[in-house]
């Protein structure tokens, strides 16, 4: 037992790239992520079992002892070789169906160590027919240096090592066959070839003799990343750096391989899946190719973009070839129904229903389809060049003439009501024609607009049989008219004046709250108060003329606002807009002073999320899920935002297109468009597909690239913490912990570049917190975190609630150079600064930049503006990190910065004068550090500060003044950990908040080889413990020296060796970038430690527990427990 008690680290939740996947049966999927094997039930998405199998290694391969059975057997037992690096762990997986539940166990056996990197493992049997063999007798292992070893099983004895004449490094290898005789072996080399050789052939040949290469498959222009045999072993598929997959015949060696072009980036792996081949790529997609052994080309049938930003890593197919599973770098595991793809969700022209006009009765007229609307899943109403309005049934190809008008010749704008019963046509002259979609009533005409009717919107009225119709012209007003079925009449209710350069592109009406909102082609969003107009809705009255109550010009930049939706939610009136900037925005609608004649309407942006590089066109709320429709790269897509998966993708961005979701559950979808004067329609009925109940994902998509910053927030109920993360993908994410998985709830892409730093500070207006994020392109953003409300998703009982995050503001850019990066942020409320007189709810945001500047901003929660208060180019080298601490006795806030030249600087950012705004002056303070010193040879990546409570110990009693003491720990690029004790005092005559500070380093310790590589995370746990993490993927815990012990006092330039290492453990996150620590309240409550632990200069080594988060290429939560103390 050490002086600070027993330390124990436990690994908890984990999210990292999924590298291996294997279907045990049609319904059971094994997944390998980091060292963990997870067993999922595909049909329900249930996690059946999970086990840490490989310890500090990462699983690359999962190989079963025998083929997976078709169907879902009640009992299943398999031996799985779990391989990673140079280790194989045999794992017994048992599944037993008890009622509808599975009982599963994963049992790891003793690990086998090998001498080289493993590329494949195969179980071998004594007989050709494996079904009659009880268990395998040998294990074949393939290695990166192109040799194979045969080991006996189960006793694990090396039988033979077999080399090949080709001496080169392999990226991929694959065995085929389960019997020693005839074992085939294919390897993908770094020299762009696939080579085949037989390790077990020619018994007569001495074992030491190298085998000959039997076949060389040449053609790839890059390294071969994976090779797969077809199920019959007659063909090989290989994937490569050259962005292609190739399929080679082993039967006919002269046949040219099929070359599959399409992936936009490197291809990592592939699988034969019955009549298709599936491949996964760095371009984040899984592609499905039609596999025809006789054809030279294989058509791409589908592109599934199921992972974030980058890298779909692995792919597995179930034995029946009905489900494809993909795993990605974003830690997501996605399921794709291959059978419904076959059933028709394929974007080939075969499935298009063409609408061709019947032979025109009058051949003299040039007749063509000009426009159309969808009135049901099976019917469209088209307008023709000659002014005819005709209904067409897709299934029967029946035509029914509805109307003909010379006013509609060559131009007719059209819209259909949501129920499909009313069709409204607009003419060149501004006339609206109201038509019954079944031709049951006489048409009604209304002169609504002046000029060409550009766009028409038909909304279902409040009462049945009433429709609200909005029609717009290019440079004129928006007209609201109402059509009443009973009387077959229409009249104008109101005319909305539009500002200049506003062409309405979308409309939403909320009668209950009396608001009309419209979005424009130029990106503007407008709100009108229509309450007064609703009161005099009588047809006898003159229409009201209304002007906008609220307007925002750049709601979606300069891009078209394509749709608006207004809804009453629990949290109040909400609006959603979609835009051709590829984003959707959620707005809070506030209506002030409800009784006033003219009400104030304001909209506040609550959330913006960019979904696509293309256009977002529509948003649907179907069965509690949000479905977005848009175009990307000439393809139409439906995206389920709630579940985060692409619902469908099919061809064509078109000027005229319509989408109809037939029921609330979006199960019947029809999409139609005009191409070359013809209407083409797709009809989808996913409900009829057998696998439609398949959960879209087994594991959530987390960050698509490296996570650079993590913040742990204490959860109110004291359960697991909430995680705020951001990184290279520019996404800010709030997640909770669900057993061993990280569950992201809210992912917002607001940063245009990577996020490198974040800081949290309490909000002064609400009970929540503020989050500041900064990163590339000189971006610094403010967010509000409302802990109370769950944001979007319904949270099951007992699950921790994720906070809602709202975008508040973006800091103006200060650098001419957009390449400047924000490297670190520290933020605190200015109420903490004594004597300052800034307005309430103002926060200090200290940011350090790659252009060597420290900038101190004031951010107001009310005005949502950043104001530059002070700056300094003192460091003259990129500043890499910063941290601040408030010292109450001193009445000051100190900021600590560390730069790429190895220097630490200490700044007084709580100086009263700095925070005294002078009227009429916008001068920016030039800051000077209180102290600076060399701490490392080169870049300081991280630093953390611990305030030592200023007890009246002997030293300060002698000096007679209040001295503040801090531990400052810094981790460098030079592998070193430095620890400084800093003593700070104010001028004797100084009052709170003013006067000069004096700082000096009083103790100095340095551990030169704290880690094997650059330190990337450093946090104090309490006054006795410090945690660090580095690129060497270790988490080290260090004992802080007793503050009373003066052996490390600064006497010379040399630092004292230390602090001592207490505990070290491997983490499973590659490229660690940040570390955060949260003391666990629950644990303390359990121990009855109600009072906060006194983190003082006195030795505090009581029992405690902390949650640690390490982020990088993934994220890992660990728990550190100190179970006993040695001395008080």
């Amino acid at each position: 037992m050490s002086a600070v008690g027993m330390l124990q680290t436990t690994k908890r939740a984990y999210a990292a790239p999924v590298i291996a996947a294997y279907f045990l049966s049609d319904d059971a999927l094994l997944v390998g992520t980091g060292p963990y094997v997870k067993l999922y039930r595909a049909s329900t998405g249930e996690l059946l079992a999970a086990n840490d199998v490989l310890g500090h290694l990462r699983i690359h391969h999962l190989v079963a002892d025998r083929p997976a059975p078709v169907g879902t057997p009640a009992n299943l037992k398999r031996l799985i070789a779990v391989a990673g690096a140079k280790t194989v762990v045999p794992l017994t997986v048992s599944m037993e169906l008890a009622g509808s539940e599975y009982r599963c166990t994963l049992e790891s056996h003793k690990a086998w160590q090998f001498c080289d990197w493993i590329l494949d493992v195969q179980w071998l049997y004594a007989a050709q027919d494996t079904t009659c063999c009880e268990s395998p007798t040998q294990v074949a292992v393939a290695f990166a240096h192109n040799f194979v070893e045969l080991w006996s099983y189960p006793e694990h004895r090396l039988l033979r090592r077999i080399g090949c004449e080709e001496k080169c490094l392999l990226y991929a290898a694959r065995f085929f066959g389960h019997h020693e005789a005839g074992l085939q072996f294919a390897a993908g080399t770094v020299f762009n070839e696939v080579i085949l050789w037989r390790p077990t052939e020619k018994e007569a040949v001495m074992d030491c003799e190298d085998r000959c290469v039997q076949l060389r498959l040449r053609g790839h222009e890059g390294v071969v990343f994976s090779v797969r045999f077809s199920r019959d072993g007659k063909r090989i598929a290989s994937v490569s750096d050259d962005r292609t997959a190739r399929v080679w015949s082993l039967v006919d060696e002269r046949a040219r391989p099929a070359i599959l072009y399409g992936h936009q980036s490197r291809v990592w792996d592939c699988q034969f899946a019955g009549d298709v081949l599936v491949s996964v790529s760095e371009d984040r997609t899984c592609r499905v190719w039609r596999d025809d052994a006789n054809a030279e080309d294989m058509a791409c049938l589908a592109v599934w973009a199921g992972h974030r930003v980058k890298n779909a890593r692995c792919v597995a197919v179930n034995p029946s070839c009905t489900i494809v599973a993909t795993g990605g770098d974003d830690s997501g595991v996605r399921l794709w129904p291959l059978d419904s793809l076959r059933a028709g969700l394929v974007d080939t022209d075969d499935q298009l229903i063409d609408v061709v006009l019947p032979d025109a009765s009058n051949v003299m007229r040039k007749e063509s389809i000009r426009n159309f609307v969808h009135v049901s899943a099976d019917s469209v109403v088209v307008s023709t060049f000659s002014g005819c309005i005709v209904r067409h049934q897709l299934s029967t190809h029946n035509w029914q003439a509805l109307y003909e008008d010379i006013a509609l010749v060559s131009y007719c704008s059209m819209a259909a009501s949501p129920d499909g019963l009313l069709v409204v046509c607009g003419s060149m002259g501004g006339t609206l024609t109201f038509l019954d979609a079944n031709g049951a009533r006489e048409p009604t005409l209304l002169q609504a607009n002046v000029g060409k009717v550009f766009e028409i919107f038909v909304l279902q009225g409040q009462k049945a049989g009433e429709y609200d119709v909005f029609s717009s012209v290019v440079a004129g007003d928006l007209v609201w008219s109402r059509y009443i079925v009973e009387s077959n009449t229409a009249h104008v209710i109101a005319v909305f004046e539009l500002p200049k350069f506003t062409v309405v592109a979308s409309v939403a009406l909320c009668i209950t709250s009396g608001i009309l909102m419209c979005g424009s082609r130029e990106g503007a969003l407008l709100a009108y108060d229509v309450r007064m107009a609703l009161q005099c809705i009588d047809s006898s009255k003159a229409p009201s003329h209304l002007t906008a109550a609220w307007e925002l010009r750049r709601a979606h930049g300069r891009d078209t606002v394509t749709s608006v939706t207004v809804r009453h939610e629990a949290s109040g009136l909400q609006a959603w807009t979609t835009g051709r900037d590829g984003a959707y925005v959620q707005w809070r609608v506030q209506i002030a002073d409800d009784d006033a004649e003219c009400r104030d309407i304001t909209l506040e942006r609550a959330l913006r999320s960019r979904i696509t590089k293309g256009w977002l066109e529509r948003m649907y709320f179907a069965d509690g899920e949000v479905i977005l429709a848009g175009f990307f790269q000439k393809r139409f897509f439906l995206f389920n935002e709630t579940q985060k998966y692409e619902a469908m993708a099919c061809g064509g961005a078109h000027r005229r297109w319509r989408l109809r979701l037939e029921d609330d559950r979006a199960k019947q979808i029809s999409f139609a468009f005009i191409r070359a004067e013809r209407v083409h329609a797709y009809q989808f009925n996913p409900a009829t597909s057998a696998q439609s109940t398949l959960p879209p994902k087994l594991q959530d998509n987390f960050h698509g690239r490296e996570i650079r910053t993590v913040q742990l927030l204490a959860e109110a109920q004291g359960a697991d913490p909430v995680l705020l993360t951001a990184g290279e993908d520019g996404v800010v994410c709030a997640s909770t912990v669900n057993a061993c998985n990280v569950r992201p709830h809210l992912q917002i892409k607001a940063h245009s570049s990577m996020v490198r730093a974040s800081a949290i500070c309490p909000s002064s207006t609400t009970g929540g917190k503020l989050l500041f994020t900064g990163g590339g392109a000189d971006e610094l953003r403010a967010w509000r975190i409302d802990a109370s409300a769950s944001s979007q998703t319904e949270t099951p009982k007992g699950q921790p609630v994720a906070p809602a995050i709202h975008e508040l503001a973006a800091c103006p850019r200060v650098c001419d150079d957009l390449e400047t990066r924000v490297m670190g942020i520290a933020a605190f409320p200015l109420t903490d600064v004594p004597g300052q007189s800034m307005p309430h709810a103002t926060h200090a945001v200290c940011a350090v930049y790659s252009d060597a500047y420290l900038r101190v901003w004031a951010f107001s929660e009310y005005t949502k503006l950043f104001k530059l208060i002070g700056q300094s180019p003192f460091h003259d080298s990129s500043i890499l990190c910063c941290a601040h601490r408030m010292h109450h006795a001193l009445g000051r806030v100190l900021l600590f910065t560390g730069a790429a030249d190895g220097r630490i600087a200490i700044w007084d950012v709580g100086e009263k004068a700095m925070w005294q705004p002078v009227a009429g002056q916008d001068a920016v303070w030039l800051l000077q550090p209180v102290l600076s010193f060399q701490a490392h040879q080169s870049g300081i990546n991280v630093l953390d500060v611990h305030v030592l409570e200023s007890t009246h110990d002997q030293n300060s009693a002698v000096l007679g003044t209040e001295e503040a003491r801090f531990w400052v720990a810094s981790g460098g690029d030079d592998n070193a950990l430095s620890l400084f004790m800093l003593t700070v005092s104010a001028d004797a005559e100084a009052t709170h908040g003013t006067g000069h500070l004096h700082a000096r380093v009083t103790r100095r310790l340095q551990q030169l080889h704290a880690h094997g590589s650059a330190i990337q995370g450093c946090r104090f746990l309490d006054a006795t413990l410090l945690a660090t993490t580095a690129w060497d993927m270790r988490l080290n815990l260090w004992a802080l020296p007793d503050t009373a012990d003066s052996s490390s006092a600064v006497t010379s330039e040399a630092a004292v060796q230390g602090p001592p290492l207490l505990h070290s453990t491997m983490v499973n996150v590659a490229d660690p970038s940040d570390l955060d620590v949260l003391q666990r309240q629950v644990f303390r409550q359990r121990l009855g430690l109600d009072a906060p632990l006194a983190l003082t200069g006195k030795r505090c080594s009581g029992a405690a527990a902390w949650t640690l988060a390490v982020c990088g290429a993934g994220l890992q939560l660990l728990e550190v427990q100190r179970t006993a103390a040695a001395h008080p």
């Binding site: 001498c115 762009n192 760095e282 790269q633 000439k634 990129s878 030249d901 690029d973 592998n975």
Partner: protein, 308 residues
């Protein structure tokens, strides 16, 4: 990313183009030399994995600077699998460093003598799987070490790129078997997890016979090897290059590197040597329509958004 953008982001990328180096890595070797004084008295150098050739450029320049007319002229042999544009004063071999024939060819160029210095700036393309990338990089380094044991004279030095990842300490332990002093050095012009291992005073074990047939297999952290903790042997770290020099992490205004220029209008420069033909060249040409597409190329990445 446009040229201007990359110029802004990375001061060394810009300096390299301005000063005529084929790659920014030239500065890394210059900075290592500042601290380790690699080139004094050196007459014979081998540059492994040399393409595109910036290290050979540095070697050629520095060794010829140090040489007077009367001295023996320096000999630089550059080896790479890829072809490389010629550099004055550098002998080029297009070959595989894992082949014994290549080692023999080098010694032939040195007329039977051994090299004073072997450098290797080679790195494989990374896959993003950190453990695998580290392994492949380690294999490359071990191959470089393997040929080095054939061609380096006792007392000579070896400089190679190393990936500062999880298992770096295992690799450095192995290098300490062959060299008296091993230092991990990170030049200030290096911005990522790549560092350089500087091995001085080559003293192979007495019973060591250089061999290419059995590649040296790297050690593993097994039982007896400490996974964690202070018992791991961590080689000293040295940040090299002038602390007052350019800072690779820093964002500089475009004018910063050109104080001597009269005209301050910025002109982006073309890279001196374009990347050697990439693996995806054919795929790219197909996408751009330069080649007839067989099939499968169904969508077009160049079109960023939908067309109306």
């Amino acid at each position: 990313m446009g040229r201007t953008s990359k110029d802004k982001r990375d001061i060394y990328y810009r300096l390299a183009k301005e000063q005529g180096w084929r790659a920014r890595s030239a500065f890394k070797l210059l900075q290592i030399d500042e601290d380790f004084d690699l080139f004094t008295g050196v007459r014979r150098v081998v540059d492994l994995c040399a393409a595109p050739g910036s290290w050979s450029q540095v070697l050629s320049k520095r060794l010829h600077e140090n040489t007077t007319q009367d001295d023996e002229q320096p000999k630089i042999v550059a080896i790479d699998l890829q072809p490389m544009a010629p550099i004055p004063g550098v002998i080029q071999i297009q070959g595989d460093i894992t082949k014994k024939a290549t080692a023999e060819e080098v010694i032939a160029h040195f007329e039977g003598e051994r090299a004073d210095l072997v450098v290797c700036d080679g790195a494989p393309d990374v896959t993003g799987l950190h453990d695998m990338d580290e392994y492949i990089q380690a294999q490359l380094l071990l191959s470089a070490l393997s040929i080095t044991t054939h061609v380096l004279r006792p007392g000579g030095a070896f400089v190679a790129k190393i990936f500062r990842g999880k298992d770096m300490t295992l690799l450095t332990t192995q290098l300490q078997v062959f060299f008296c002093t091993v230092t991990c050095s990170k030049p200030r012009s290096s911005r990522n997890s790549k560092a350089f291992i500087v091995c001085e005073d080559y003293q192979p074990p007495t019973d060591y016979v250089p061999s290419m047939i059995n590649p040296m297999l790297d050690f593993d952290y097994g039982t007896g090897n400490e996974l964690t903790g202070m018992h791991r042997k961590i080689v000293p770290f040295l940040a090299c290059g002038d602390l007052r020099g350019w800072d690779a992490d820093r964002t500089y205004p475009l004018e910063a590197s050109r104080q001597t220029w009269d005209d301050d209008s910025y002109q982006p420069l073309d890279p001196l040597q374009l990347p050697i033909s990439p693996a995806y060249k054919t795929a790219l040409e197909m996408r751009r329509g330069l080649r007839p597409a067989g099939d499968g190329a169904t969508d077009d990445a160049d079109a960023d958004s939908a067309s109306a």
